[in-house]
Amino acid sequence: MRSASSSRSRWGLRTLGLGYLALLLLAPLVLLFYKTFEHGLAPPLDAITSPDGLHALKLSLLMVAIAVPLNTIFGVGCALLLVRHRWKGNAVIDSVINLPFAISPVVIGLSLFLLYGTKGWLGPDLAEAGIEILFSVPGMVLASIFVSVPFVVRETVPVLQEIGTEQEQAATTLGANAWQTFWRITLPSIRWGVAYGVVLTTARVLGEFGAVSIVSGSRSGETETLPLFVQKAFDNFEPAGAYGASVLLALLALSTLLAMNVLKRKEDA
């Protein structure tokens, strides 16, 4: 009787878990895809390939192209610092890294606004030097970097802890300097943690709305990323544009995850 009841409770849990996911995650996505292609491929395609749509796509990819490499380099360096060089400042770094997780993106956007605005700390000096941060691409890049800082660090730290230092020490006894040890031993050993962090960072940068919305000014064809494009189309009662861009975002995110899985399977084989 015991095993029967435990198998029943196992099925119960499974149903609950899958039902929860289906209702809250899958149903809205499925509905989005359905709505988008309700009247065929043409309407969403036209909306995305409009000049503003294409510009938004390009700008979103530009955010990824700048923010992801920077946060990857910073993230791996930071993880190495946290795990391999124990000192008192680590606790501070550790908490600060988590700030973007804890603070609402809108608040992040607002704080950038306060820093770089015309009455902000740095704004006036930068304006004098001819550098525009707010309502232009640099500000949006800063916001994207800010919100996506923690991912690579958080994914890399546990992997670094797990591999330990013996392999690195062995490499140094064989004559490898610090740089060679990093490239030939450390990085290959943590690459899946880093890759996973990169995927999460990419997804976060692509989807970022709140912070970027505040610092960009959201000018169509100039400072509008895909999420902002979706918002504007939605506000203007242009369902084709809103759904089309949403689906595009979802597909970009899915393909990133898929690429990760394919690479991982290749590695395991």
Binding site: E166, Q167, Q169, A170, T172, T173, L174, G175, A176, S189
Partner: protein, 334 residues
């Protein structure tokens, strides 16, 4: 290449890992650093390799002070207890790592790696990954990797500690043969006195960050400098102020002026060797090591009274008249 350590000291927080340690390892020898865990033996080995910096003292390899030399430049081969295999590389790439760092050309690397794989009996496994090897194979790969760069000295940190008893025995015999062929000055760390005596020509016994005694296995066994060494390199009983090895206890059935009365508490047969445990009149527990033949002759049974006569005892406070060997024997320099 001889190795000299002079006055080495190292602290980790409140823990004094090395306390003014000096050792001398002659060129071409195979030396064991023997001691319980926490005795500083691994720290000393890592300090020789340059993996640990010393708070005080210095390390000389072949007469040259290498204390300030980084580990990369010391030309030591180091073998770790848990192999430290490069998991993302094949056996071939692991063994060739040091050569690749030294920018050898590919054909030469391949020749050398195959030569080494032959030596450690791993030929045919060059394309495997470490995860596809057994523990013993991994450790032989690690050894080949360390030997590939022709190190001046070979340092092994509890190299067989993670292996099971049978593989351990095979590997230590094999290490001894390898050393006879290669003649590279080798130091290996172990907490197993049998392993140390089996493999090494010279032993350094360490305890609580200090060297207790150095010498050959025979010297340490026959003339231990103190109680610690005596009990660490072999079994020992305590009779008041005296120490006596179980095989130096004679069991007889009739009392005389040199015997002590004891009751047989337990008889344990360990193959050829029989361990007979006694309780003395004062409550002290000691045991004697007998052969099967001796046991049969004495017809001992548990609960029976018998008499114990120590053939040879040792005392380390120097005042006991019953000691045959004093503790004043100076530690034998290596």
């Amino acid at each position: 290449m001889g190795i000299t350590v002079e006055g080495a000291s190292k602290r980790f927080g409140d823990f004094q890992a090395l306390n003014d340690v000096s050792i001398e390892v002659p060129n071409g020898s195979l030396t064991a650093l023997l001691g319980p865990s926490g005795s500083g033996k691994s720290t000393l080995l890592r300090a020789i390799a340059g993996l640990e910096s010393l708070d005080g003292g210095r390390v000389l390899i072949d007469g040259e002070d290498v204390s300030a030399k980084p580990v990369q430049k010391r030309e030591v081969g180091f073998v770790f207890q848990h192999y430290a295999a490069f998991k993302h590389m094949t056996v071939f790439e692991n063994v060739g790592f040091g050569l690749k760092i030294r920018k050898w050309d590919k054909a030469k690397v391949a020749d050398r790696v195959h030569e080494l794989l032959q030596l450690v009996q791993l030929n045919g496994l060059a394309d495997r990954y470490p995860s596809q090897l057994s523990g013993g194979q991994r450790q032989r790969m690690a050894l080949a990797r360390a030997l590939a760069v022709e190190p001046q000295v070979l340092l092994l940190d509890e190299p067989f500690g993670a292996l099971d008893a049978k593989v351990r025995k095979d590997l230590r015999t094999w290490l001894r043969h390898l050393h006879e062929e290669m003649h590279v000055t080798t130091i290996f760390v172990t907490h197993d006195q049998e392993e140390a005596m089996d493999v090494a020509g010279q032993l350094v016994v360490m305890n609580e960050g200090r060297v207790e005694q150095s010498g050959t296995a025979d010297e340490l066994y026959e003339n231990p400098a103190n109680e610690f060494v005596m009990s660490f390199v072999g079994e020992v009983n305590r009779l008041g102020e005296d120490y006596v090895r179980p095989h130096d206890m004679e069991v007889v059935l009739e009392a005389d002026e040199r015997t002590q009365e004891g009751m047989v508490q337990r008889i344990v047969a360990l193959g050829f060797e029989i361990r007979v445990e006694f309780v003395l009149a004062d409550g002290a527990e000691i045991w004697a090591q007998l052969t099967r033949l001796e046991l049969q002759r004495l017809e001992l049974r548990e609960g029976q009274i018998a008499y114990l006569r120590p053939i040879q005892t040792k005392s380390f406070n120097g005042s006991s008249p019953s000691s045959d060997h004093g503790a004043s024997t100076p530690p034998v320099a290596l």
